[in-house]
């Protein structure tokens, strides 16, 4: 079994979660204010999965994300300024404004990118793991994907190949109960995603995605298996997004009571209680952390606002390497 997270790790996990939450809330407002256009999918409520998983990885590891990727990116250490600038479509954005919310990456961080195609990163991640195998590298690749993405054919194709070849990849499903408006009960025959691991003879684990420590442990174990050559794992993390699927989602497909009940399992509040109980954080400290976080987010907004638009002359540059 994986050992407990240290106090400092717990603390920094909490800070990361706060950063993600505040960042996303701010993006929501910026959308409403018309400062950001296009689309963005926020992960408010899912912070523990992103941070718990990211913490279990090593620096040399890689991860791929989804359309709902800001949290994953921030959890991996992405720069909020450049993420925000990308959402604005500005020059210093991670993709120079070309990709927007669903298409940015930082390869130096091993963060291989969000993906506008539901399920699109399943095969990319598996391929990165295949490359690691070929290179005799110890790199493990983690692939975030949603419950909805698990219905794509490539889920089956990639789990099969990853299991056949015992690739060092972790398939981490953030089951937030819905794919847009489609509830899991109506989209996943048999009702369980983790059950599908069995069909491939793959290790499968189900966990509370709102419990950072449990996510951390599950991913740490999976990482160890992968690194040892014991093959891939499928982890299903149960979580919830409070926000709509994307901008302008009226959430008609779910009862407000459901959201309320999930609020009681809020990953951030839960962490706060743990930090307080374990004496990792003093009672008044939360306010300070919160202020600091908001300042950081505000700074990213200021950065994005001040940033220039991409150069018009660059429009057609860089299609080919």
């Amino acid at each position: 079994m994986t050992k407990q997270l240290s106090a400092s790790k717990l603390r920094s996990a909490y800070q990361r979660m706060l950063l993600i939450r505040e960042f996303e809330l701010r993006v929501e407002r910026l959308f409403l204010a018309g400062k950001i256009t296009g689309t963005a999918h926020l992960c408010i409520g899912q912070e523990a999965t992103a941070v718990g998983a990211a913490m279990a990885l090593r620096k040399s590891d890689a991860l791929t994300s989804t359309h709902r990727g800001h949290g994953h990116f921030l959890a991996r250490g992405g720069n909020p300024d450049r993420i925000m600038a990308e959402l604005y479509g500005k020059r210093s954005g991670y993709s120079g404004g070309r990709g927007g919310s669903q298409f940015m990456a930082d390869y130096r961080l091993g963060y291989l990118g969000a993906n506008g195609i539901t399920g699109g990163s399943l095969s990319l991640a598996t391929g990165v793991a295949l490359a690691a195998r070929l290179q005799n590298s110890s790199r493990v690749t983690l692939c975030f994907f949603g419950d909805g993405a698990s219905n794509q054919g490539s889920f089956h194709e990639c789990l099969n190949m990853a299991a056949l070849w015992q690739l060092p990849v972790i398939f981490l499903c953030e089951n937030n109960g819905y794919a847009m408006s489609m509830p899991v009960a109506r989209s996943i025959a048999g009702g369980s995603i983790v059950n599908r691991a069995q069909a491939y003879g793959m290790a499968g684990e189900e966990t509370d995605g709102n419990d950072l420590e449990m996510v951390y442990r599950a991913v740490t174990d999976a990482r160890r298996r992968a690194a040892k050559g014991d093959g891939p794992s499928l982890i299903e993390c149960h979580t919830y997004r409070y926000c709509g699927h994307s901008r302008g989602d009226p959430c008609v497909y779910r009862a407000p009571a459901e959201t309320v009940s999930w609020r009681k399992r809020d990953p951030i509040q839960r962490m706060r209680r743990i930090l307080l109980t374990r004496g990792v954080m003093a009672p008044g400290e939360h306010r300070l952390l919160m202020q600091e976080t908001r300042r950081r987010v505000q700074q990213s907004v200021a950065y994005a606002e001040a940033d220039a638009w991409p150069k018009a002359a660059s429009l057609t540059e860089g299609v080919f390497a």
Partner: protein
């Protein structure tokens, strides 16, 4: 005459088809209580029930393949692909199954299938949510391709597509969903394969479709103010093409400007350009001009996206240049 948006017009047309023929069914993601990502199917689940308004998991390949199967089985499925970009996952059932059935299996087989693709840019959705692929489909014998620009045509072409016994790729432009136009209460029956002349003129022919036809019409107005009479033809049916209308116009004006929002290379504009040249080269007073997006992915950044996509101003300028009157 009522004034109505593109999305509502499509919704009415879908409802009418569902009402008229019990074999008609809808398939797609989030088309039920959510009403579709762009609201096109809102209310249809309530009205026609879950047997006919079939909300699917995110399985584009399987869903389109099932729709082909349902068509073989006697239904008339209409599939919504939330963004055309995702049809990349469903090319096999369209190209290797649907398109081939009739030619290979003969009269016993038909495949009355409509695949609605949400296409185009202008909404800053970025490189994987702004594409169209019309050019791919015209290259596949056995598939028809239509792309309305007027709100009325959203209904007229949909009716024609649903009643057609062949697979039809129906390209809907996101920018047209919210556009409002007055529409007569009884719409004409139109046949697939007919273009629509948006405005008449004898100086230059502007060929466009989908949102670009709207931009072209705006450009024509501005050109009129500068004493250039542009004829705008909304091609609207990309396969089959109405070469009769196009040829008559180009041979009269002697000038053709073809506007396409997609990247130019290998685009529909190339096919039309070649055909115009093949049929009318002796009549041309100036070279045919293609005005398209540059050969780049569609960038998300608002000013860059705007720069990338042709618009009324670019059309006006290109038409001007073709008239030999440099600005």
């Amino acid at each position: 005459m009522k004034t109505i948006t593109g999305a509502a017009m499509l919704r009415d047309a879908l409802a009418a088809e569902l009402q008229a023929d019990s074999a008609v069914m809808l398939m797609g993601e989030d088309i039920g209580v959510y009403g579709g990502a762009f609201g096109v199917t809102r209310g249809l689940l309530e009205r026609f029930g879950p047997r006919r308004i079939i909300e699917t998991p995110i399985s584009e390949n399987g869903v389109v393949g099932m729709a082909v199967g349902a068509a073989i089985g006697g239904c008339r499925p209409i599939v919504e692909i939330m963004f055309a970009d995702f049809v990349t996952l469903a090319m096999d059932p369209l190209v290797n199954q649907a398109a081939k059935l009739r030619y290979v299996l003969g009269r016993q087989a038909s495949c009355p299938l409509v695949v609605r693709l949400v296409t185009g840019g202008g909404r800053c959705y970025g490189p994987t949510h702004s594409q169209g692929f019309a050019a791919w489909f015209i290259h596949i014998p056995g598939i028809k391709v239509v792309a309305p620009s007027s709100i009325a045509d959203h209904a007229c072409l949909l009716h024609a597509a649903v009643r057609d016994p062949n697979p039809v790729v129906f390209l809907e432009h996101k920018r047209l969903y919210a556009r409002r136009e007055p529409v007569p209460s009884d719409l004409p029956d139109i046949a697939l394969g007919t273009a629509r002349t948006v405005c008449r003129g004898d100086d230059i022919t502007i060929l466009a479709w989908s949102w670009m036809a709207v931009e072209a019409a705006m450009a024509a107005e501005r050109l009129a103010a500068r004493d250039i009479a542009a004829e705008v033809i909304d091609v609207r049916s990309l396969q089959p093409l109405d070469m009769a209308t196009i040829t008559e116009s180009v041979q009269r004006t002697g000038r053709a400007l073809i506007v396409d929002e997609a990247p130019g290379n290998g685009g529909v504009a190339a096919e039309i350009g070649c055909r115009v040249f093949e049929t009318s080269h002796e009549y041309l007073e100036a070279p045919i001009r293609r005005l398209t997006a540059p050969d780049i992915p569609v960038p998300a950044s608002p000013p860059m996206e705007q720069l990338a996509l042709p618009d009324a101003t670019a059309i006006e300028q290109a038409a001007f240049a073709l008239m030999g009157t440099l600005q």
